[in-house]
Amino acid sequence: MRRIAFHPILEIEKPKTIKFFFEGRELEAFEGETIAAALVANGIDVFGQTEHSRPRGFYCAIGKCSSCLMIVDGVSNVRSCITLVKDGMQVERQVGRGEITW
């Protein structure tokens, strides 16, 4: 229940919902939101692990700090905080450095 249902100032629209997959699990997202927003809305804060096994979430939300790197549709090092979630997208936690997409 991370989504804000009521807001004294902002209009809360109900955008179209889409499905995406996180670590193989089907989750719901709103069209037009970032992967990071969709994950946090689903209660997921841990986006991956550093090379030294530290859990990693996102920090800046504007694509600058590279704390939010994830594997998206098989491609490593995707900045999940500025990449929009898409229907059917496969999102995975990245552990350490990314791997080459063959």
Partner: protein, 379 residues
């Protein structure tokens, strides 16, 4: 501040620091190194860090082989891990004439004791299935070639030299040199300093330094651009290079791919800017040869300078017109890999009057009086 030294070296790149270290190692530690910026701020820190022995001229092969044997010991000798890796150099040829020359080169290299293989495109594909070998005529491979981290190797020599008593003065620019009857007076932004022996290891600025002393050194500096990708897990061991294909690339220990090419359009002069054309050309060319790069991101792109000599080979030795003025310049893009052997040889020349391991007399300035035979194995 001490204002009198036996030896003053201009240039805190790996060549200058290697000379300083070897001088101290052989007993002369009354040495100062002037670096106008920070250590490795010039060509050294901007290069890709390749270490190759496959050259087209015998003395380059010998010099490089000596360098490799010194690189092999460098981490242990200095206590600084220089990320040295003998992952081999894979030299790809896209040109029949070049391929024919390679066969001859390999024969010469083998005669000098270098273990080099000749590979067919099929062999290449078998060893490196992720390389697209379209257009490749043949390749040569030497496992003992490799790469290291240029900054760390530069620091390794600097720190080791300092431990032996050498003074390194960074952010100290030599602005003028006065030639005295038995030495030199250097005018720096930190004051005047005297030296009996002066060594020019100023890389891209070598000609300027020569002018200060009154010796015309026939070098020209050309910008070379280079770029690096984000890091991914390591899998790519060799330095891949092609003269006819005009590229080189390796994966660093950190996992990044570093790569570059030469640009025939480049005009001589110091230019630290970068062009997008370089990225565009590289992206197109490299993705065709190394398709796995296509989803990787470029994180940084910079430029450095090749200090070119007329025959693309270094100019090393003592000036005949100004005694006690030495130079190790004009490395034409290969100063990093030759620095250990050159530093050692020049130090030996100064201290013992001759070299003990590799003969460098052919690299003296007067060779240009006899005409120019250009080194071909250059990107």
């Amino acid at each position: 501040m001490k204002n009198e030294y036996k030896v003053a070296i201009i240039g805190g790149g790996i060549v200058g620091c290697s000379i300083a270290y070897h001088l101290a190692k052989f007993g002369e530690n009354d040495v100062v190194v002037f670096e106008k910026d920070y250590l490795s701020s010039g060509s050294t820190g901007r290069c890709a860090g390749g270490i190759r022995q496959q050259w087209s001229s015998p003395h380059n092969v010998l010099l490089a082989m000596r360098s490799v044997s010194l690189f092999e010991k460098l981490s242990q000798e200095t206590g600084v891990d220089i990320e040295y890796k003998q992952g081999g150099y894979l030299v790809l040829s896209y040109d029949d004439q070049e391929a024919a020359q390679f066969e001859k080169n390999v024969q010469m290299q083998r005669e000098l004791g270098l273990d080099v293989e000749i590979l067919t495109p099929k062999d290449v594909k078998q060893r490196y299935p992720y390389i697209d070998v379209s257009g490749v005529k043949m390749a040569t491979f030497c496992q003992k070639d490799g790469h290291a981290n240029p900054h760390l190797a530069n620091f390794a020599y600097a720190r080791a030299a300092q431990k032996l008593g050498v003074h390194i003065m960074t952010h100290t620019k030599v602005m003028a040199v006065e030639v005295l009857p038995n030495g030199f007076e250097l005018f720096t932004n930190r004051g005047k300093i005297g030296a009996k022996i002066l060594i020019n290891a100023a890389g891209p600025h070598s000609r300027e330094i020569g002018n200060m002393v009154g010796v015309d050194l026939p070098t020209e500096s050309y910008r070379h651009q280079i770029m690096v990708t984000e890091a991914v897990k390591n899998f790519f061991n060799p330095m891949a290079i092609s003269f006819s294909g005009n590229f080189y690339m390796r994966q660093t220990k950190h996992g990044q791919f570093i790569m570059g090419q030469g640009d025939p359009e480049e005009k001589p002069g110091i230019n630290n800017n970068v062009t997008y054309r370089f990225e565009r050309e590289m992206a197109e060319k490299m993705c065709a040869i190394f398709p796995f790069l296509s989803k990787l991101r470029i994180v940084r792109h910079w430029s450095g300078h090749y200090n070119m000599s007329p025959d693309a080979q270094p100019i090393i030795g003592e000036s005949t017109s100004v005694p006690s003025f030495y130079y190790a310049i004009g490395f034409s893009g290969h100063g990093f890999m030759l620095a250990p052997a050159v530093g050692e040889a020049l130090a030996q020349m100064i201290i013992y009057g001759r070299t003990l391991h590799v003969d460098i007399t052919e690299l003296n300035l007067d060779r240009f009086e006899k005409g120019v035979v250009r080194e071909k194995n250059v990107v």
